[in-house]
Subunit: 205 residues, 2 copies
């Protein structure tokens, strides 16, 4: 067993591959490039790494659930999965802990410029957010309008109500502006969503 | 999009396959059978389902992280993963929320009857528990002595200290008895670890 000198966490860290930065932005004229061409998921993962390294919060993306059917064990090399299937997740993609608070959120990106279609949220995600809310978690969504370079942290209660409304198929941009905390893509962290979490916590008190 | 009547959660629930109950216990003489021959993981998963259904807590096992290399999309049937590899997890297996508290734990089973070898904990698990502790999470391990039918909920602080002790290769059963909350395998839930969490929370206040 490898032991590490107490107090040092450096030995724990695996080298993390930085997401590739797109070099060509020519097809996205007139858009803020502070997100450096990363997907929303890449931005959040990079932010989570920053928050972890700085001791600010511990948030991880959950792996995609896979049903493994067949595994090969070739000699002198590692196990290879030869048959497996994607399974339906039963939770949101992200959760973690921040100053004693349980955080739980789903992140979604749209190319749409005027509204966010509610069908992008799945039943199990809405159910999970609702269950976590009842346990007093800090639950929200991060919605990215990639064509606009705008990002909204929206309390889960608002999203759940919109999703449950049978007459509603999307959340309009104006509705999100009114009911969210808008955050801007930056450098360190790439997407400072914990700033919005601070406001959600303050609002709850 | 399927919408559900507000207030009802039944539509959310997927049918959950019950773990198979072993019918023959003849090889395990003199042992309590209240765990019905389930592995520790099965017991915890079943308990988590009970806690979720009853609105007591929301805790899920994280999926195993997989690096997917090749996926086939056969016509008229779902995607098949044809080449993938197991990746190292960067967290513990379980986390969730209970009455506003962030819960994080790792569960391990041993056939050993007198001690629990510390090499069963991996560096990334210890690091993760430590990081979550600093964020005021309720962090612990569930150690099952399967030969004895005994289960211990041990605060992460004790496990981390033992793991970091270069002169220590295992935690003795007596040490665990002294520094843990022992729980008994039962019926509903199969493994009532939230009872121990209540004590951990009380102890922290």
């Amino acid at each position: 067993m490898v032991k590490y000198p107490s107090g040092s966490t450096a030995a724990f860290r695996k080298p993390v591959k930085r997401p590739k930065v797109r070099r060509s932005f020519s097809h996205r004229k007139g858009v803020s490039f502070s997100d450096r061409g990363m997907t929303l998921e890449q931005q959040i993962n990079e932010s989570n790494k920053y928050y972890l390294d700085e001791g600010i919060a511990v948030v991880h993306k959950k792996p995609t659930p896979i049903q493994i059917v067949k595994v090969d064990y070739p000699q002198r090399s590692k196990a290879v999965i030869r048959e497996a299937y994607f399974r339906q997740a039963s939770t949101t993609d992200y959760n973690g802990v921040y100053q004693g608070y349980y955080l739980d959120f789903e992140a979604k990106e749209t190319h749409n410029k005027t509204n966010f279609p509610l069908k992008n949220f799945h039943e199990h995600q809405i159910f999970h957010l609702n269950a976590c809310l009842k346990q007093q978690g800090i639950c929200f969504t991060i919605i990215g309008f990639s064509s606009l370079g705008r990002y909204f942290v929206t309390p889960a209660s608002f999203v759940i109500a919109a999703w449950q409304d049978k007459n509603k198929s999307s959340m309009k941009l104006e509705e999100l502006e009114e009911n969210s905390i808008e955050i801007s893509s930056g450098f360190r962290p790439t997407l400072p969503y914990i700033d919005a979490v601070d406001q959600l916590i303050k609002g709850r008190k």
